[in-house]
Symmetry: C2
């Protein structure tokens, strides 16, 4: 359900908060009472496990103890109708216009003042990383294959992607240990810490949606199987990647860690921010075509706090509207060969890069493979990441007549 | 524990069975009493759930109901010491020289006459597919990149691999639906059923091994984290693969299905069949080097039963000793960048190909990209797989002074 812009919560929501009642993203948190699922509202959290225990979801089809667990997968396995019903129940107790809702929450102590420690929100099934920004693919093509056309012949015909390592997807705040690996040396490869550690600004979607999940999903139906979105930092060791990646693609240059933001923003909350997707030329094959060709007006930014600095500097400001392939097309493509998806599968967009340097989504693009360092106002500069650097990705949707919502932060600090 | 060649079971084991008491592989089966874990002995199964319920594993560190579940992951999470203790308890009740063991089994009805229906033995965490046969990588290099050196510069320095789709790993016997996908056409790509559907003969290992699993694993320690092995058929749609795979590697050409054999042969059972691994030139970097450079003398075969035929024909006979990179090196490599592994991760070897056509592990090699069809004794021939074709992979270890053991069959039939 879409929540009217006039709706307010009785829970205090600070001005400019990412989490007004129009958002209601899901996450997993831990405090002295244990690990469980919750929904963010302002700086507070609605304790879903407790809410469930006192009957808030009794009229929905949720299984017992759906939220008294350490992932959202119990919710994800249900269909979109159940997701809507649950969201509707949550709104009912947080809406300021429903006095009984507030009394219910207060009587059962359902709203917890933040901040609390966040955990991985989902148990990731498979993790797929696409490559769906034309500018990013072009930039990397120019750098990695300078002697050929930057965009390969297949790129405009299908959403190129690969499977990443689901076991090393971590939640925002997890320190990122600089990976070791094989690097090209002057007389053959050497083993050591990556000297070209990079970030990639991406947006991920998480699947679910009940039975029927095992058959090819059409572009039209795809969004029935998208539960929600999060921010993704696809950490990349460019030197490991450059040496290992032919012919089977990225492997250890990516598999050491992938960070996601802790709150999963439901697709329903993003409805006011839908925009027509960009034109595609050539027109994709029928299984990738749809009149329902919809993108998302989501502003994205990356800040870096250099090691030893108290200050964060802008690295990038870009928009998810830059993507060539849409989420619905990505999901239709991945299932077109008969592959099944599962609740909790994570699909990342690929680096979101715009047309100009200040809109590029990775350091390798911003510094053009390290040849053009980026300078910060405090005099420091970077080609790639140093130990102690902190990278923060943020995302925010705004639209006329809608209450702006955000994704929370996706943060990682490089450690030795 | 290694089980002496003189040991016999009181359970009847047919001559030439894959599953004498020296093997004792683990699997998951279902009958009228439900889904649970078992161990194969001859044509029978020791019901581990029932054995656990009546106290067989009381002296081990297993959690309650480790085997009353639909995967072996509860066992996999323990350390090698626990795996040994469990194996020892199983031997104690199956060994013909222990009358009390037989009485215990019979009193509690622990041995079930087969055949029963087998299920996926593990819940796969991540699935990685290597590319570790020099002959296979050379053959495919010649076909896919005819204008350059077949073996790429990195190949002899590291075990090249990629992540596959864990959600579509299926157990032997599952029908394999011919995948659809984008195929190169004369005027751009077209969408349709793969016309070049292939199999790949591989061997997989499954990880586990308790705490400490999150840090880089040395070649020496690697086998502490290898629970056991199975056979793998890495089904491949060559036409989908050829069009999609640059620059990020195999994706939908592989992700539709991967078949594994239902029985996981414990590494302990394979001890008599260990052999020195082949020489490597150049000598790998220190993190991939070890005096403990051990391969496995495992004979592998593939048969095909063409659609409509009652007869199976030999496609390939080869040996796992053909592999250039060892399992221990593969595991050391994958964790060298700090990536964690989990109980239930599956690592496949890559296609096992020998030097000559009758030792190649895939149809694309045997028929040289479809240019040289293989002829069968009944007059039929194949370049790639037809609907109705059944592919069966088998594996068997023999050694002087040891009882031969097998892997059971890894079977799949192509359906439309």
């Amino acid at each position: 359900m879409m929540i009217d812009a006039a709706t307010r919560s009785w829970v205090e929501v600070p001005e400019g908060s990412d989490f007004p009642i129009q958002n209601l993203p899901y996450g997993v948190f831990v405090d002295a009472s244990g690990v469980r699922c919750g929904v963010a509202i302002g700086d507070s959290i609605l304790d879903l496990a407790r809410a469930e225990a006192v009957g808030l979801f009794a009229t929905t089809e949720l299984d017992r103890d759906t939220f008294r667990r350490d992932d959202l997968n119990g919710l994800l396995q249900h269909s979109r109708g159940v997701w809507s019903a649950v969201r509707s129940r949550i709104v009912s107790v947080l809406d300021a216009s429903n006095r009984a809702g507030r009394e219910f929450c207060e009587a059962h102590d359902l709203v917890i003042a933040g901040p609390v420690q966040m955990r991985m929100p989902i148990r990731v099934g498979d993790y797929v990383d696409f490559y769906s920004s034309e500018q990013h693919a072009t930039n990397l093509g120019k750098m990695f294959r300078p002697d050929s056309e930057p965009l390969l012949p297949n790129w405009r015909h299908l959403p190129v992607g690969y499977h990443g390592r689901s076991g090393t997807v971590v939640v925002s705040g997890t320190p990122i240990k600089r990976p070791h690996g094989q690097l090209r040396g002057s007389s053959g490869p050497v083993f050591g810490p990556s000297q070209r550690l990079d970030m990639e600004l991406e947006v991920g979607f998480i699947t679910g949606g009940g039975p029927g999940i095992g058959t090819p999903i059409s572009v039209e139906d795809a969004e029935h199987h998208i539960f929600g979105l999060c921010l993704v930092n696809d950490w990349s060791a460019r030197d490991i990647q450059a040496w290992e990646y032919v012919p089977l693609g990225p492997f250890l240059g990516k598999s050491f860690a992938t960070t996601i933001s802790p709150w999963i923003v439901p697709l329903e909350a993003l409805e006011p921010f839908r925009v027509p997707a960009g034109d595609q030329e050539p027109v994709p094959l029928p299984y990738l075509s749809s009149d329902h060709h919809i993108g998302l007006d989501l502003d994205l930014s990356v800040e870096i706090t250099p090691a030893g600095s108290a200050e964060a500097f802008d690295l990038t400001r870009t928009s998810f509207t830059n993507m060539y392939w849409t989420m619905a097309q990505q999901l239709a493509h991945i299932t077109a060969n008969g592959a099944t998806i599962r609740p909790g599968d994570l699909f990342a967009s690929g680096t979101v890069s715009g047309q100009t340097r200040d809109e590029f989504g990775s350091l390798i693009e911003i510094t053009w493979n390290g040849t053009n360092p980026i300078e910060f106002p405090d005099g420091s500069s970077r080609t790639f990441l140093h130990d102690g650097d902190t990278v923060t990705i943020r995302g925010r949707c705004t639209a006329d007549g809608a209450v702006s919502i955000g994704f929370g932060a996706c943060v990682g600090t490089i450690v030795r």
